[in-house]
């Protein structure tokens, strides 16, 4: 790169010398970044040795010596003898090959699993559309409502010629995405209201309620709310009313997420200069006009990066529903591992699940960081 630039220089700067190799070039880079002092050299050598050893071992285990498929007998029971022999030296990816449909879609009727598959694609499309800045306008809300409705129709069925599938047969990745996305869609408006209430000066009673709600929820772990949803919620309902398990967990997640999101939104409201609100008052706008057209558009834009980080946290936290016995992605991994032939291959399954989860989280955090840079640039100008 630097060489082509040097040759492209006009001829009259002939006497231009290349910098000495002790300052530029790969050798100098190595000296500056890996072998600058005795301590640095020692660290480099030690870490280099450890990383190489680990990599060689891991590649050998995960790829070279791995078992990709095993024979099945007439009843469809796998013969895992090769896997058991290779244990310790080679991974048994056959467990994934055998169980991936179960892990991804749970107990959803096997022939109908194209429906949750389409739902996953719809979810992904929804995320991508929401990430594009051109869509940050009211039409986005419409897109969300439409997509979520379509997902509901696809998952439940019972119309348009689709057979009905009750919620207890749902499982795997769609459950995780439903809990995260619906949780977000409902928690976010609630969070905005709570944040506004907590900032309100004219309504002290409402402010107290909001403070109480936020601090109470943030002081307890999500599990306690999920337990509450699973054991106390039935007590709350009048006799004869039975609320589905998925919906109960969803309510717990919404209430939990809203408290955390409210604090993020409050940060944005506080960061906004007071002049904005005063200017709106001077124009004679009502409270809701002022909030909807002046305050929120600016305040929410300020807190998009921390909002995305909170979303990442929720996405990971949806895995907690397995403790109250729901079949999300992580739980389906556990279910797959409870099959006797595959019991001892937990590492392979958990690694695969980790890759799925971290793919989602990594994409979100990458996006958040890019956004932060972009918004920061607009701010510095």
């Amino acid at each position: 790169m630097s060489q082509t630039a040097a040759t492209a220089e006009p001829a009259y700067t002939t006497a231009r010398e290349r910098p000495p190799s002790s300052i530029v070039g790969p050798w100098a880079w190595l000296r500056a970044n890996l072998f600058s002092t005795w301590l640095s050299t020692a660290i480099t050598l030690l870490l280099g040795y450890l990383i190489l050893r680990f990599l060689v071992g891991f590649i050998g285990w995960a790829i070279l010596n791995a078992i990709w498929s095993v024979p099945y007998n007439a009843q469809g029971v796998p013969d895992t003898a090769t896997c058991i022999n290779a244990k310790g030296t080679g991974a048994c990816w056959a467990v994934i090959a055998n169980k991936y449909r179960l892990i991804l879609f749970g107990r959803y009727p096997f022939d109908e699993q194209w429906r949750p598959a389409i739902c996953v694609v719809l979810f992904l499309a929804l995320y991508v559309v929401s990430a594009i800045r051109w869509f940050w306008r009211p039409v986005l809300a419409l897109i969300w409502v439409a997509t979520l409705a379509a997902i509901g129709v696809l998952m439940w069925g019972g119309m348009l010629g689709l057979s009905f599938v009750p919620e207890d047969e749902w499982g795997g990745l769609p459950i995780t995405l439903i809990l995260a996305t619906f949780g977000l869609a409902f928690a976010f408006p609630l969070a905005v209201l709570v944040a506004l209430g907590r900032r309100s000066t004219k309504l002290p009673a409402v402010r107290m309620l909001c403070v109480l709600y936020v601090e109470l929820i943030r002081g307890v772990p999500l599990i306690s709310l999920l337990f509450m949803a699973s054991v106390m919620f039935p007590l709350f309902m009048p006799e004869g009313v039975n609320v589905d398990k998925l919906l109960r967990a969803q309510v717990a997640i919404i209430l939990f997420a809203a408290a955390y999101l409210a604090e993020v939104v409050r940060g944005g409201l506080q960061a906004l200069p007071k002049g904005q609100s005063e200017a709106a008052d001077a124009l004679g706008l009502t409270y809701w006009q002022k909030t909807a057209f002046i305050i929120l558009p600016q305040a929410l834009r300020l807190v998009i990066p921390p909002l995305v980080n909170t979303f990442i946290g929720f996405f990971k936290d949806t895995s907690l529903v397995l403790i109250v016995g729901m079949f999300d992605l992580l739980m389906m991994g556990k279910v797959a591992l409870s099959d006797p032939p595959w019991q001892s291959f937990s590492t392979e399954v958990y690694l695969t699940l980790a890759v799925v989860y971290s793919a989602f989280c990594f994409a979100m955090s990458k996006y958040s960081r890019g956004l932060e840079r972009e918004l920061g640039r607009a701010h510095r100008r």
Binding site: N33, L34, S36, S40, I43, T44, L47, G48, I51, K202, L203, P204, A205, V206, L209, L216, R218, G219, V220, P221, L222, I223, S224, F227, M228, V231, M232, P234, L235, F236, M237, P238, E239, I312, K316, D317, S319, L320, L322, I323, L330, K334, L337, S344, S346, T347, Y350, L353, A354, Y357, S358, C361, F362, S365
Partner: protein
């Protein structure tokens, strides 16, 4: 009101008449009162409705509310506890206390270890060594993106798939790693050890006093007396001398294989070990980011100013950079400590008996759902509020004193 009257600039100024509420929708004060009454009323109505339903359901199921069940014999087997417990005679109350102790035990140890590991990794990310910086960055990025519960299950199954005690992995003849957990030699505690610990305490106080004396001498004369010889003597030589004078007893209770399991020695159960490992490794990734951003928030000029004053790297870090970095680090660190404590409730998924796990068993056995949930929430709220109160106090202590 009185301050405006006392302000000399406002003497003689017209004061706005006190706003009196009018019963009209165009009056903001009236509107505010109406809205508050409506909203609080709705919330109260909802609460009343839910409580009413709960009461009706509880009577229909013949569950007596109240905490009388705490006095009943629990009959819950508890694997590990800090206080003696016998499921045949001890009560639910005692079992729930054990739950609190177990939660505190794993949280406190986890917070200490996560802080140490997180600080090391955070400093590693700022290292001039490219390999170390990249490796620690990879650690942070990867572990933050994997749900904690998944990590806990991973460690737990890994520890459970370790060999049987007979084929345990061993370090010498002292430490054994098997599917029953980690077995360690245990020191037979004798009075000489207690005296040595007492001597260590005395030594610590002495070192503190000597340090203060040195500071006073430095302020008076400009020369700082050496501290480390005195500290060495007080903190290491003194306890060792006390211990040696009492006959230097040192008997280790070694774990030994008898039949299918180990006898003697101390045990770290696989549940506790997996939970601790997961919590520390996960939280350390977050703490590392906090430490890194804290150190980076101190401008380079502070280092250069310190060097211009002729200070060495160590004192600059200790006296100039760290105090400023701590101000940035403490508030988010507090919330990570709170997160770790709250996350320890995931113990229920791998069978470590913490607050949530024991409360869950209790409410399944007694049907006291409301009390069980209330107990869990009360415990965590108390812990959360105490940690944040302490950290707020500490934060004020290190905060910038502005004019």
């Amino acid at each position: 009101m009185s301050s405006t009257a006392a302000d000399p600039r406002l003497v003689g100024a017209r004061v706005a008449p006190r706003h009196r509420i009018r019963l009209s929708w165009s009056d903001p004060l009236f509107r505010a009162v109406v809205w508050q009454v409506v909203i609080v009323g709705l919330v109260a109505l909802l609460a009343w409705y839910l409580i009413g339903n709960t009461n009706r359901n509880l009577t229909a199921r013949h569950i007596a509310t109240g905490f009388a069940f705490l006095g009943r014999v629990a009959g819950i087997p508890i694997g590990e506890s800090l206080i003696p417990y016998d499921p045949a005679v001890d009560t639910f109350g005692r079992a729930l206390v054990i739950g609190i102790l177990n939660t505190l035990q794993v949280s406190v140890i986890g917070i200490v270890l996560a802080t140490i590991l997180g600080t090391l990794i955070g400093i590693g990310r700022l290292s001039g060594n490219w390999l170390l910086a990249r490796l620690t960055a990879f650690y942070v990025e990867t572990l933050r993106d994997i749900p904690l519960l998944l990590q806990l299950l991973f460690w737990y199954t890994l520890l459970h798939n370790l060999p049987q005690p007979r084929q345990a992995l061993r370090i010498g003849d002292a430490v054994f790693l098997s599917n029953r957990g980690v077995k360690l030699p245990l020191l037979e505690w004798q009075s000489a050890h207690s005296w040595a610990v007492l001597a260590l305490l005395v030594g610590a106080i002495g070192t503190f006093l000597w340090n203060r004396h040195a500071r006073h001498r430095q302020e008076a004369t400009g020369v700082r007396p050496r501290i480390w010889p005195m500290a060495l003597g007080l903190l290491i030589v003194l306890p060792l001398a006390v211990w040696a004078a009492l006959g230097a007893p040192l008997n280790w209770e070694m774990p030994a294989l008898h039949g299918f399991n180990f006898q003697g020695g101390g045990t770290i159960s696989p549940e506790f070990f997996a939970l601790l490992l997961g919590l520390v490794i996960y939280t350390a990734a977050y703490i590392a980011e906090i430490v890194r951003s804290g150190i980076q928030s101190v401008s380079l000029g502070q280092w250069e100013a310190g060097r211009a004053l002729g200070l060495r790297r160590g004192p600059i870090l200790r006296r100039i950079v760290l105090p400023q970095a701590l101000r940035v680090i403490i508030p988010p660190l507090t919330s990570q400590y709170l997160n770790l404590t709250k996350n320890s409730s995931l113990a229920v998924a791998i069978g470590y008996q913490d607050v949530v796990s024991i409360a869950n068993t209790t409410l399944n056995q007694t049907g006291q759902a409301v009390e069980g949930i209330a107990y869990i929430m009360a415990v965590y709220l108390t812990i959360s509020l105490s940690i944040s109160a302490f950290m707020n106090w500490y934060n004020r202590h290190v905060a910038l004193v502005e004019r």
